[in-house]
Amino acid sequence: MRFLQLYNYEIAIFLAMVGLYIVVSSGNLVKKIAGLSMFQISVFILYISMGVVEGGTVPILIEGVQRYSNPLPHVLILTAIVVGVATTAVALSLVIRINEAYGTAEEDEIHEQDESF
């Protein structure tokens, strides 16, 4: 039943694939960003899963607890989350500008307009 024990890794892989699939399949730029975020989040889960120590608890000092999870991946992922938020913010603002310039946020329509030049 090793397969089931690794469920959080499988969720991470599943999320990553779903996220990438959305980026590939959806023509809408906002949805692409959503997919991208999902892809990033899957990696956060991956990292957090890595930090798990069997039987450990959250790495905050608690009386009587000996086993803590590894705090380092958590710290790292805080940074990564910040990066993810920043990326999403930049991406969304770009979409706003694109929408102003083209009047649409659909990728195929944008390409159509540019090729008409």
Binding site: V23, M50, T79, V83, V90, A91
Partner: protein
């Protein structure tokens, strides 16, 4: 005071541009002061970089504990011949681009966004320098994202609305690349429990057979490959270079891919180690195949481009093929060639994009059609383009020749004749696409835009010609570049053979 600072040079290398970025916004009401600040920051960076290289060459590797936290736990800045050399390239280009920026930016960016532009440029510089200088794997990711995010902003400031879509494309691709790198670093962490590169290098040999490691390496290579525009992951690059403002293009084209190449070298040679990468895994073969594909397709596509900046961008893809080829050969000679081309290509592409920026400054277009006959109207700008183009082709006495010479030698050394032929063949293709521009821009009858053009102002010409002359200088005085590149290659290749 100075001696105290001198001990903190590695930190200052990153902190100086980092601090100047918010200052740009605080001083936004005085654009001229903003520019002067950035100029000072980039020149200071260059001075620090020169000092660091000097220290490394005389005293060996510098290790600097960030915030006083010792190495495996804290973040270490670790400078050896390799990254001292790359830092020199990045700061050198920044120092030349910054004087150029003043007039070019004023013309291309709306006045209210100029301070923002400079802030982003400084952030970008920070990110690139940080990526290079740090000795911590995760820190690489953080600085990579700093540079990437600021690059998206820089690109989106182009006047053409396609700059926006290009920036968006790059953002999606860059984020995927960054995330791949993150995954790769995570896998390395899982198998070793450390993020310090030197520490990783020590512990990885214990776990060479683990698939986790192999998968992590695959993620790293693809992720970094995206940033360095390795074929076929280069698709974001042509648009990004083509529609960004001239200054941004010149800076990014000359530095960003170089730093990504550095990151690849660092991970392959220092962290993973050449034994695993080349002997256990076929990294060398894949790199060679992709290098050749990039070299050939990049050059061919460049021939057909109607937009000069896009043409140069595709040529960058081809030139990255050369660099990758040297890495794929996995010999000291090959690495020397790669390191040399890293430097020389920065000079070449910087000069070319700056020259094109000069043309754009007067004609407001980079389409070949509009540039018809411009050569005779703007002989100095176009002369710079031609000489840098000769260097790109690899004509003797220019910098481009030196690196190609070494690359050919490296290919012959391992008995790979076809590669040497390909390298020379690539030069022939470069002749074609550079010649196309020369033929149209020099011999064509002037277009309406070209007819009204006059020579670009000195503020643009002088920095451009500095890079052009650097191309000629380093084509004839190879002592410095070859010496350092060879030292860097030997540093990298310690684990080789």
């Amino acid at each position: 005071m100075l001696s105290v600072l001198a001990n903190d040079l590695p930190a200052l290398q990153v902190v100086v541009p980092l601090v100047s970025a918010p200052l740009c916004l605080i001083l936004a009401r005085w654009p001229r002061i903003v520019w002067l600040l950035c100029l000072a920051a980039s020149w200071t960076s260059l001075a620090i970089a020169i000092e660091l290289l000097d220290q490394v060459l005389s005293g060996g590797t510098i290790s600097y504990a960030m915030g006083g936290w010792a190495a495996p736990w804290g973040i270490e800045y670790r400078i050896d011949a390799v990254n001292a050399y790359v830092i020199l390239i990045v700061t050198g280009i920044a120092s030349v681009v910054m004087p150029y920026a003043n007039q070019s930016v004023a013309k291309e960016i709306p006045a209210d966004r100029v301070p923002l532009f400079y802030a982003l440029l400084m952030l970008c510089l920070t990110g690139l320098l940080g990526m290079t200088i740090t000795g911590d794997a995760f820190n690489v990711f953080v600085f990579l994202e700093i540079s990437s995010l600021s690059m998206y902003g820089l690109i989106s400031m182009g006047r053409d609305r396609r700059a926006l879509t290009s920036a968006f494309q790059y953002l999606v691709m860059g984020t995927i690349g960054g995330t791949f790198i993150l995954v790769g670093i995570g896998f390395l962490y899982v198998v070793t429990g450390t993020l310090n590169m030197a520490d990783l290098a020590m512990r990885l040999p214990e776990v060479t057979q683990l698939r986790t490691l192999h998968t992590g390496f695959a993620f790293l290579v693809v992720g970094i490959g995206l940033k360095l525009a390795m074929f076929p992951l280069h698709l974001w690059l042509p648009n990004a270079y083509a529609y960004a403002p001239s200054t941004a293009t010149a800076f990014i084209a000359a530095t960003a891919t170089k730093v990504a190449v550095y990151a690849l070298l660092r991970f392959v040679f220092t962290v993973i180690g050449p034994v695993i990468a080349y002997q256990d895994l076929p990294f060398g073969e894949i790199a060679k195949v992709l290098a050749v594909l990039g070299l050939v397709t990049g050059s061919f596509v460049a021939i057909f481009q109607e937009n000069v900046k896009r043409m140069l961008a595709y040529s960058s893809v081809a030139q990255i093929g050369y660099i990758l080829l040297g890495i794929g050969l996995a010999t000291v000679m090959g690495l020397t060639a790669s390191m040399l081309h890293l430097f020389n290509h920065a000079l070449i592409k910087g000069a070319l994009f700056m020259a094109v920026g000069c043309l754009f400054y007067r004609t407001r277009s980079v389409r070949l059609d509009d540039l018809r006959g411009i050569g005779r109207k703007m002989p100095w700008s176009f002369g710079a383009f031609v000489i840098a183009g000769l260097s790109l082709i690899g004509v003797p006495l220019t910098a481009g020749f030196v690196s190609k010479w070494y690359l050919v030698q490296a290919s012959l050394e391992v008995g790979q004749w076809p590669l040497a032929v390909l390298v020379l063949g690539g030069s022939l293709l470069a002749i074609i696409y550079i010649w196309r521009v020369v033929e149209i821009a020099w011999f064509g009858s002037p277009s309406t835009r070209a007819a009204e053009a006059t020579e670009a102002p000195l503020g643009l010409l002088i920095p451009t010609w500095i890079l052009v002359l650097a191309n000629l200088y380093f084509g004839t005085h190879t002592g410095l570049t070859v010496g350092v590149a060879n030292l860097a290659a030997r540093t990298l290749a310690e684990g080789l053979r």
